[in-house]
């Protein structure tokens, strides 16, 4: 019916196939990567426009009608996530020109990047649980290969931990999926919404729901399941870690939101309380972990965890405002976090190291980087009027509205501690004089690279824009939240009257 829905999946995979042919032509690979990414972004934007104006879109693949075939479904949440994927995809594609070494390029960096994005887009768009498993696998495979491409000691060590824990998560997902199928006889997510509510035994449903919670909790880096993330995210090249940091954990968060709004009943079985406690613990542990680190990318990795806590807090509160806050937070966070990782590449290139003890004086020598760092860093910490301020405000307000004062306090305090880490990077890398003994690397101070600067500036501009005009984005996030809390329209669109 609406075959354009598959475009955000088809474009990256087609590009990946074409890329394999052009292994020895970095120029060709880079330019077509950028084109594909822009095209992906455009189809995502078109999808969002269509969904916003004419409601939820569904594509029954190969015209197999809903509960039997695979359905691709785009509602507000899915299409917003595809658009944001497109933005990060474009930024990273442009940045790759400066960051990816010929060695990585020869070993297939570009095809893997496209496969990764294809898997991510598929996971966002699918309306079938088993299909989601397949997209997760596609995404994981590509991320495994990207992570250990350089084969350095740290990459292999981090890679082993990443691979091991993610495979366990995958097995849990598959187990849950098998049990759900055994209980209901269907795997279509809209159909499951109806069928699971007919199961007489709520304990059985809750037990399976916990399997999914654990599986996606590992993917999204929830406390106490996050240890793979800070072990691995700082080891690959900057472009790779930026796309990982922006998107991979958020696919887990997306899956959690989808599971517990559409498929599993959330209220009345203690899961909500469990999720709220996990969210608060995730926020606190993540930010404390970051406070103890002195390596730019390791600080940022720990902040991913603490920020995921905010999104899960929005899910756990389960009011329209809170879910809108979670979606808003996710969109803001993806832009800001990818950008910070990209900027860490600038710090390394111009300052010489990711270790804060070995860089300094960048404010004096490269004021531009300081300004570019300032915007996303203080947006992450929640300074008004940047995007993170609104995201945090919505969530704190949502917690106050339902009387969760402790959670509101945790969210506010974690915001303050985030400022501590950002100020630490700021004062160490930018303000402190260049450390003794680490000379201005004479003769090889690299010039500013437009391929690196352009995506960073564009994403910083988006952050400022969301900060100054949060209205339209909030409006979208609210529409997504309303759809999530009233899944009737989603179910009706996918399977009609049953």
């Amino acid at each position: 019916m609406n075959s354009g829905l598959a475009a955000p999946i088809i474009i990256p995979f087609t590009t990946a196939a074409i890329m394999l042919l052009g292994r020895r032509r970095p120029n060709f690979q880079h330019i077509s990567s950028m084109l594909a990414a822009v095209l992906h972004l455009a189809t995502g934007a078109w999808l969002l426009y269509t969904v916003h104006h004419s409601g939820i879109q569904v594509l029954h693949v190969a015209s197999w009608s809903a509960p039997f075939g695979i359905a691709l479904v785009a509602d507000h949440l899915s299409s917003l996530m595809v658009v944001i994927t497109g933005i990060v995809y474009t930024a990273v594609s442009v940045y790759s020109r400066a960051d990816v070494t010929p060695d990585h390029q020869q070993r297939g960096y570009y095809p893997l990047l496209h496969i990764l994005v294809g898997g991510i887009s598929g996971a966002f768009l699918t309306g079938d649980l088993f299909n989601m498993y397949v997209w997760f696998e596609v995404m994981l495979m590509a991320s495994f290969a990207l992570l250990v491409q350089g084969k350095t000691r740290a990459q292999l060590d981090g890679g082993v931990k990443y691979v091991v824990i993610n495979l366990i998560s995958t097995l849990l997902f598959l187990t849950g999926l098998g049990l759900v199928y055994g209980m209901t006889g269907t795997l279509n997510m809209a159909h499951l919404h109806i069928k699971l509510r007919m199961i007489g035994d709520p304990g059985l449903v809750a037990a399976v729901a916990v399997l999914f919670l654990t599986a996606f909790g590992i993917k999204s880096g929830l406390f106490p399941l996050f240890f793979w993330l800070p072990a691995s995210y700082h080891t690959p090249p900057v472009a790779t870690s930026a796309i990982f940091a922006g998107l991979l954990t958020k696919v887990g968060v997306y899956a959690l939101i989808r599971m517990f709004t559409l498929i599993f009943p959330f209220e009345g079985n203690g899961l909500r309380e469990l999720v709220l406690v996990a969210a608060a613990a995730t926020m606190i542990i993540g930010v404390l972990g970051a406070a103890t680190r002195y390596h730019v990318r390791r600080i940022l990795s720990f902040h991913i965890i603490s920020q995921v806590g905010y999104m899960i807090l929005g899910l756990g509160l389960f009011t329209p405002l809170a879910l809108a806050g979670a979606v808003f937070y996710m969109l803001h966070h993806i832009i800001v976090k990818s950008n910070l990782f990209l900027i860490s590449g600038l710090i390394q290139r111009h300052g010489g190291s990711f270790e804060l003890s070995r860089v300094g004086g960048l404010y004096r020598s490269h004021g531009w980087i300081a300004l570019l760092f300032f915007i996303p860093a203080f947006s992450l910490a929640g300074f008004p009027p940047l995007s993170g301020f609104w995201a945090k405000m919505i969530l704190i307000r949502a917690s106050l509205e339902v009387g969760q004062f402790v959670l509101a306090a945790v969210a506010a305090v974690v915001g303050l501690l985030t400022v501590y880490s950002m100020v630490k990077i700021w004062s160490e890398a930018f303000w402190k004089p260049r450390p003794e003994g680490i000379s201005e690397r004479a003769g090889c101070v690299p010039p500013m690279n437009a391929w690196m600067l352009a995506p960073i500036m564009a994403m910083a501009a988006i952050t400022v824009l969301i900060g100054l005009l949060p209205g339209p984005l909030y409006h979208m996030a609210r529409a997504a939240a309303d759809e999530l809390l009233e899944p009737g329209a989603y179910v009706y669109t996918v399977i009609g009257n049953m």
């Binding site: 994981l140 495979m141 060590d157 999926l177 055994g182 002195y294």
Partner: protein, 127 residues
């Protein structure tokens, strides 16, 4: 028949958890192989076992009149086996390469990505 499969699956999962808790990566791999096969059996059993008939219908019929075997779990398992096989191939190579580079299969000795706190703080202290 389902009971037998359920017990078998449970035993396999128990064994795989025991193996995966080891700090030795080689043991972990065997645990993983066992676990992924256990999950495949679970999906198979979840689709209900029916030994009587293949899931074929006459050309002009629209639905089956008698109980037939459920073919969907087989399709699911086939997909899961293919994916699992690819992942295993990758993980074998990754672990082998890790063993070659780091010289150990003991996960507690692998600290290259995250140096111990003491090393980190000496590196990170203000000069």
């Amino acid at each position: 028949m389902e009971t037998v499969l359920a017990i078998l699956t449970g035993a396999m999962v128990a064994g795989s958890v025991f193996l995966m808790l080891s700090k030795n990566l080689v043991r972990f791999i065997f645990g993983l192989v066992l676990a992924s096969n256990a999950v495949n059996l679970l999906i198979f059993a979840a689709g209900r076992l029916e030994t009587s008939r293949p899931p074929l219908i006459p050309q002009d019929a629209t639905h089956v009149a008698v109980a037939v075997a459920n073919s969907l779990p087989q399709a699911l398992i086939l997909t899961a086996i293919v994916i699992g096989f690819a992942l295993l191939a990758f993980i074998f190579i990754l672990f082998f390469r890790t063993y070659q580079t780091l010289g150990t299969v003991d996960t507690e000795a692998m600290t290259d990505a995250e140096p111990f706190a003491s090393e980190d703080s000496t590196k990170g202290r203000r000069p």
